[in-house]
C-alpha cells in the first residue's frame, strides 16, 4: 500500500504542477493578488508530493521491495545500505525522480525566499517552474514510471551496476542535478521577464543568488564526477571529453558567463538582452545534457540507460522549452530598452570579453559533442570526436581568457585604464613569470609549454588577489588599517578572488599532470620491484578477499624511497556476484598534492605474473582543489549581504493614498 501511496503522490504532483503553471500565470496576467498569493503554496505542495513519492521509492530500495520493477532491476538485498540509497538514482527512472525532486525543491525555495520579489514576478517564475515540472513529471509517469509493479515479487534483485557502487556516486549526481536544475530558476526568471516585458538592474540582483547557487553545485558536481571517473574507471584520466562530461560542462560554461554578465546588468543595466539569452541558454544546455544522457544517442561511459522512445519524448520536451523560449526571446527582446554605455576597455568590457570567450568555448564543445550525431544522421558515416579535437579548439580559446582574468577586477566601470591596471599588476606578473622560470629550471628538460602553463597558473593565483591587495592599501597603509579595510570588503570581492585563484590552481594541476606525469605498463610477479619517478614499488602478491556482494583479488604494493617504506597500495580486481561483472579498483596513494596510482590488468596465463599499470601523477589533486576554491568563492559571494534585501514596507504616504482610494 505504501508503494501505491507513493505512486499516487506522484500522480497528484503532476496534477498540482498543472495548477502551479496555470493559476499563478493567470494571476500575474490579470493582477489578481489572491491567485498570485497561491503560487508559493502551490510550489510547496508540489514539492511535498514529489518528496513523499521519492521517499517511498527510497523506502522500496532500502526494504528491498522487489515488487517494484525498478527496485528489482537495480538493487539486491545483499547490497550495503549506502548503495541501496544511492541505487535509487543509479538508474534512469530513479535519476529522473531525483531530477524532479530537485526541480520542485528549487520551486519551493524560490517561493520561500521570494518575499523580496515583486508578487507578479514571483508568480510568473513559479509558473514557469510549474510548466517544467509538469513536463518532466508527465514524462516519468508515462514513459519511465518507477512504480511499475511486479507480481509476485522475485526473491532476489538484479543488483546495481557495480561501476555505480561507489561513494562517489552517492554525491555526484545529486550535486550535478542541483546545478543543472538550479539553472531552471534563472530560466524561469528570464521567461518571466520576457513575458512581463520588464527587465532592469533589480532583476539581475534577484537572479544572482540563484545563478550562484546553481553554479556552485554544478562546479562541485563536475569536479566530483571527474574525480569519480579518475579513481573508479581505473584509466588514470581525469577528463575524457566524454559526451556526458561535455553535457555538464556546457551549462557550466554558459552559467559562468551568465554569472559575469548579470554583474554588468546589475551595476550598469547594460547587456540586458544578452543576459536573458544566457539564462535561457544555460538551462537549455542543461536540458540538452539530460537528453544526451537519458536518450543514449551518444555512446558514453556514463550512459546507463538507452531507450529510443524516451529519447524522443525528452527531445520533444527539449524542443518545446528551448524553441519556445527562443521564440519568446525573439518576439520580446526588441522591446527591452538599451542599457548603459561603456568603453571597450572597462570592467564591462572585460566581462564582455569573458562572456564572448566562454560562450564561444561552449559552442566549440557543443559542435564537438554533436558533430558525430549530425554526420551519422546526414551521411551514415560513423565518426568520433575525441580529446584531440577539444585540445585543438578549447585550449587555444582558454589561454587569452586566463591571461585576461586578473585584469578584469582591476578595471573601473564604464571607462577603465588598462595601462593603470597593468601597472598595478606588474609585480604579480613578475612573480608568475619567475615561478614559470623556476619550474623550467627545476624540471630540467621541461617543455617550454609547461613553463608557460605554470606561469599562467601562478599569474591567475597571485593576480586573483591583486584586487584584495590593492584595496587593503598595503604596504603604504599600516597593517591595522589594512586589516580593517579587508574585513570591510564586500564578501563578493573575496568570492571573486577565491574563484579566480581556483582557476589558477586547476591550471597548475592540469599543466603539471600533462607535462610531468610518468606512466609504466608492465608485467609483475610477486616479489618484483619497479622504479616510478624515484620511488621503488614492490609487488608483494595477490590475495583473495570476500566483500559484502563481491569477491576480489587484492594486490599489495609497497612503495619506498631511498630504502624507506612510505606507503602500501592495494589495487584490486573485483567480481560482483549478482551480475558476475568484473571491475577494476585503482589503488591510490596521495603524497602532498601528487599521487601514485596503480591499476591492475589481467593475470598473464601460464605464469604468476600480472599486468600492472602505474602512474606518478604530480600535483594531480590540484585539479580538484581548484574547484573547491571556486566553490568557496561562490559561497563567499552568496553570503554577501547585498544579495539579501528584504521585502519593502509600503511607505506611509502611499498607504494614505490607498486608504483614500477605497
Amino acid at each position: 500500500m505504501i508503494v501505491e501511496l507513493g505512486h499516487y503522490a506522484l500522480v497528484l504532483a503532476l496534477a498540482l504542477s498543472v495548477l502551479q503553471t496555470v493559476v499563478p500565470f493567470v494571476g500575474a496576467r490579470t493582477g489578481d493578488t489572491r491567485q498570485m498569493a497561491m503560487a508559493p503554496n502551490l510550489a510547496f505542495a508540489v514539492f511535498a508530493a514529489i518528496a513523499l513519492s521519492f521517499g517511498v521509492l527510497t523506502w522500496g530500495y532500502v526494504a528491498s521491495d522487489f515488487s517494484i520493477l525498478n527496485v528489482w532491476e537495480n538493487s539486491n538485498s545483499q547490497q550495503p545500505l549506502l548503495f541501496k540509497f544511492t541505487g535509487v538514482w543509479g538508474n534512469h527512472e530513479g535519476s529522473m525522480m531525483l531530477w524532479i525532486l530537485i526541480l520542485s525543491l528549487f520551486g519551493a525555495l524560490v517561493a520561500f525566499f521570494g518575499s523580496n520579489l515583486p508578487p507578479s514576478l514571483r508568480a510568473m517564475v513559479i509558473s514557469v517552474q510549474g510548466l517544467i515540472a509538469t513536463a518532466f513529471t508527465g514524462f516519468i509517469l508515462f514513459t519511465s514510471n518507477p512504480f511499475t509493479r511486479l507480481s509476485p515479487a522475485p526473491l532476489e534483485g538484479q543488483d546495481l551496476n557495480p561501476i555505480l557502487q561507489d561513494v562517489g556516486l552517492a554525491i555526484h549526481p545529486p550535486l550535478l542535478y542541483l546545478g543543472y536544475v538550479g539553472f531552471s530558476v534563472c530560466f524561469a526568471f528570464a521567461i518571466a521577464a520576457l513575458v512581463e516585458g520588464r527587465i532592469d538592474a533589480a532583476w539581475a540582483r534577484w537572479v544572482r543568488p540563484w545563478t550562484l547557487t546553481a553554479w556552485i553545485f554544478l562546479t562541485a558536481g563536475i569536479a566530483m564526477g571527474s574525480y569519480w571517473a579518475y579513481y573508479e574507471l581505473g584509466w588514470g584520466g581525469w577528463w575524457f571529453w566524454d559526451p556526458v562530461e561535455n553535457a555538464s560542462f556546457m551549462p557550466w560554461l554558459a552559467g559562468t558567463a551568465l554569472l559575469h554578465s548579470a554583474l554588468v546588468m546589475e551595476k550598469r543595466e547594460a547587456l540586458k538582452v544578452w543576459t536573458i539569452l544566457l539564462a535561457i541558454l544555460a538551462f537549455s544546455l542543461s536540458l540538452l545534457g539530460t537528453f544526451l544522457v537519458r536518450s543514449g544517442v551518444l555512446t558514453s561511459v556514463h550512459a546507463f540507460a538507452s531507450d529510443p522512445t524516451r529519447g524522443v519524448v525528452i527531445l520533444a520536451i527539449l524542443v518545446f522549452f528551448i524553441g519556445g523560449a527562443l521564440i519568446l526571446f525573439a518576439l520580446r527582446s526588441s522591446t527591452l530598452s538599451n542599457g548603459g554605455l561603456f568603453h571597450p576597455i572597462s570592467r564591462e568590457g572585460a566581462l564582455l570579453l569573458n562572456n564572448l570567450i566562454l560562450t564561444t568555448a561552449a559552442a566549440t564543445v557543443f559542435v564537438g559533442t554533436l558533430y558525430p550525431l549530425a554526420i551519422e544522421a546526414l551521411t551514415g558515416e560513423k565518426i568520433s570526436v575525441g580529446a584531440p579535437y577539444f585540445d585543438a579548439t578549447f585550449a587555444p580559446l582558454m589561454i587569452p581568457l586566463l591571461l585576461a582574468v586578473p585584469f578584469g577586477p582591476l578595471l573601473a566601470w564604464k571607462r577603465g585604464d588598462l595601462f593603470g591596471a597593468a601597472q598595478r599588476l606588474y609585480v604579480f606578473a613578475g612573480i608568475a613569470i619567475l615561478a614559470g622560470l623556476v619550474t623550467l629550471y627545476l624540471a630540467t628538460g621541461a617543455p617550454v609549454l609547461a613553463a608557460i602553463g605554470v606561469t599562467i597558473g601562478f599569474w591567475l593565483i597571485v593576480g586573483a588577489f591583486a584586487e584584495v591587495w590593492q584595496k587593503s592599501g598595503l604596504p603604504k597603509a599600516g597593517v591595522r588599517t589594512a586589516m580593517a579595510r579587508l574585513s570591510g570588503l564586500p564578501r563578493s570581492v573575496w568570492g571573486t578572488a577565491f574563484a579566480h585563484a581556483g582557476l589558477g590552481v586547476i591550471t597548475l594541476g592540469i599543466v603539471s599532470v600533462s607535462a610531468f606525469q610518468e606512466e609504466h605498463v608492465l608485467r609483475m610477479a610477486p616479489g618484483d620491484t619497479t622504479d616510478l619517478s624515484g620511488f621503488s614499488v614492490l609487488f608483494e602478491g595477490m590475495e583473495p578477499r570476500q566483500g559484502p556482494n563481491y569477491t576480489e583479488n587484492v594486490a599489495t604494493f609497497q612503495v619506498s624511497r631511498d630504502g624507506k617504506q612510505i606507503a602500501t597500495i592495494n589495487p584490486a580486481k573485483r567480481i560482483y556476484t549478482a551480475r558476475r561483472m568484473p571491475t577494476t579498483e585503482a589503488g591510490i596513494h596521495t603524497r602532498g598534492f601528487s599521487q601514485i596510482y596503480i591499476a591492475l590488468g589481467d593475470p598473464v596465463e601460464g605464469s604468476n605474473q600480472i599486468v600492472v599499470r602505474l602512474w606518478w601523477k604530480p600535483d594531480v589533486t590540484l585539479i580538484w582543489f581548484g574547484p573547491i576554491l571556486m566553490v568557496i568563492g561562490g559561497l563567499f559571494s552568496l553570503s554577501d549581504r547585498r544579495l539579501r534585501i528584504g521585502a519593502p514596507v509600503p511607505s506611509a504616504r502611499r498607504r494614505q493614498v490607498l486608504a483614500a482610494a477605497e
Binding site: E4, H7, P118, L141, A202, G488, M542, E543, A647
Partner: protein, 394 residues
C-alpha cells in the same frame, strides 16, 4: 480501503495548503507594489556606494557618476510605483468559478491518471515480509513472528524433552539447512525419515545436507538421496535442480541445461528452485560458450549461498564457517583428496583467513609428501591464490 482514505487525506491536505491564501480575506493595503521591490534594491545600491567611497575603494568622480545613474533608476521606479498605486488595483476580484474549477481539477486528474497507471490494492512486499511468508508453511502459525534462530532454539528445547517427536524434527531440519548447519540438518532429516517415513522433500533435504557437507559438490551420498526423492515424486524441484547440477559437474553440461530448462518451464515447480535453475543456466550456459567445459572449478557452492541468501549476513557467515570446518575435519581423517584440499584452501582464502589457508596448504603438502604430482598441484594452486607454501618454493 485504508489506501483510499490515506490518498484522499493526502489530496485534501495538499489542496488545503494550496488554496489557503485564496480563502483568506485579501488585504490589498498590506501588500507592497511591484516597483517598491525595485526601490529597495536601488536604495541599497546607493548605500553600498557610500560605504565604498568611505573605504576609498572608488574615487569621488566614479561615485558621483554611479550615484547619478542609480538615482535615475530610483526615480523611474518611484514614478512607476506611484503610478501603480494611483491605478485601481484589481485585488480581491478573484474569479470564484475559476478557482473552483482548479480545485476540482487536481483530484479528478489525479484519480483518472492513477486509475490508468497505478495498481491500487497491491501491497508493498518488502524483503523482510516476503521472508516471513515463505517461512510460514513450515512453522506453526503462532510462531510466525519469531526469527529463525529463536524458532530453532525453541524447537531444539522441545525436542530435547521429546526426542521422539518426528514432526518436530521434520520442522527443524529445513531450518538447519537454512542456517547452514549441515550435519544437524542431516541428523534431523534422518530422524524425521526414520520416524515419519520417507517423502520426497525429506529425501531431497537430506541430499542437500550431504551436498553442503561435501563443501558444495553433489557427491555420491547426495546424489543417491536426490535420486530416491525423484523416485518418490518426479516433480520434486530441489532434486531436479541438484541432479542437473550433478550432471553439469560431471561434464554433461547440455544435460544439465536441459534439466534446468524443463524445471523452469514447469509451472508446478517451486519458484525458489526455478530461480536457482535460472542462475545455473546463466552460469553454465553463458560460460560454457566462453570457456572450455570443465574449466569452471566449483566455487564456494554458489547454489547453496543462493538458496539461503535470505538469511542474515551473520547466519550465512556461520553457515560457511560450518561447512568449512566439516570439510577440514573430513580431510584430517581422509587426507588423500586433492580436490578437497583445494576447496578448503580456496575457502579459507576467499574468507580472508590467510593463516588458516596457509596452514591448510602446509597440511596438504605433508599429506602428499610422497606423491610428487599431487604435491606439485597443491604448490601451484597455492601460488595462484597468492599464498606461500611454507618455504617449499621461495
Amino acid at each position: 480501503m485504508l489506501f483510499i482514505i490515506l490518498a484522499a487525506l493526502l489530496t485534501i491536505v495538499l489542496l488545503g495548503i494550496v488554496f489557503w491564501p485564496a480563502l483568506r480575506p485579501a488585504e490589498p493595503a498590506a501588500t507592497a507594489h511591484e516597483h517598491d521591490f525595485d526601490l529597495e534594491i536601488y536604495k541599497d545600491q546607493l548605500r553600498e556606494l557610500d560605504t565604498d567611497l568611505e573605504r576609498g575603494v572608488i574615487n569621488a568622480a566614479q561615485a558621483d557618476y554611479a550615484r547619478a545613474e542609480i538615482g535615475r533608476r530610483l526615480l523611474a521606479a518611484e514614478d512607476a510605483a506611484q503610478a501603480e498605486a494611483d491605478a485601481k488595483r484589481t485585488a480581491g476580484n478573484t474569479r470564484g468559478p475559476m478557482l473552483a474549477a482548479a480545485a476540482a481539477f487536481a483530484p479528478l486528474a489525479a484519480v483518472v491518471i492513477y486509475a490508468a497507471v497505478g495498481s491500487p490494492g497491491m501491497d508493498a512486499q518488502p524483503l523482510a515480509g516476503r521472508l516471513q511468508e515463505r517461512q510460514q508453511p513450515m512453522t506453526a502459525q503462532t510462531l510466525q513472528n519469531l526469527d529463525v534462530k529463536e524458532l530453532v532454539k525453541k524447537a531444539e528445547d522441545h525436542l530435547r524433552a521429546n526426542p521422539d517427536d518426528g514432526r518436530g524434527w521434520d520442522v527443524l531440519a529445513p531450518m538447519y539447512l537454512r542456517l547452514g548447519r549441515a550435519d544437524d540438518a542431516r541428523d534431523a532429516f534422518e530422524r524425521a525419515i526414520a520416524m515419519l517415513g520417507e517423502t520426497a522433500p525429506r529425501r531431497s533435504g537430506l541430499g542437500q545436507a550431504y551436498y553442503m557437507l561435501s563443501g558444495g559438490a553433489v557427491d555420491v551420498n547426495a546424489r543417491s538421496e536426490f535420486e530416491r526423492a525423484v523416485a518418490l515424486d518426479p516433480n520434486d524441484s530441489r532434486s531436479r535442480f541438484f541432479l542437473a547440477l550433478a550432471a553439469a559437474e560431471g561434464g554433461n553440461v547440455n544435460g544439465a541445461l536441459e534439466g534446468w530448462k524443463t524445471l523452469i518451464a514447469d509451472n508446478r515447480a517451486a519458484p525458489e528452485w526455478k530461480a536457482a535453475a535460472q542462475e545455473g543456466l546463466r552460469r553454465f550456459g553463458g560460460e560454457a560458450l566462453a570457456m572450455a567445459p570443465g574449466s569452471s572449478a566449483p566455487q564456494l557452492d554458489q547454489e547453496t549461498v543462493k538458496n539461503v541468501q535470505s538469511m542474515s549476513a551473520e547466519d550465512r557467515q556461520a553457515m560457511i564457517g560450518n561447512m568449512i570446518a566439516q570439510l577440514d575435519a573430513r580431510l584430517r581423517d581422509n587426507p588423500d583428496d586433492v580436490a578437497g584440499w583445494q576447496r578448503l584452501i580456496r575457502s579459507y582464502s576467499v574468507l580472508g583467513k590467510k593463516p588458516e589457508a596457509e596452514d591448510a596448504v602446509k597440511r596438504a603438502l605433508e599429506a602428499f609428501a610422497s606423491d610428487e604430482t599431487k604435491h606439485g598441484q597443491i604448490v601451484e594452486f597455492a601460488a595462484a591464490l597468492g599464498l606461500s607454501s611454507g618455504g617449499t618454493t621461495q
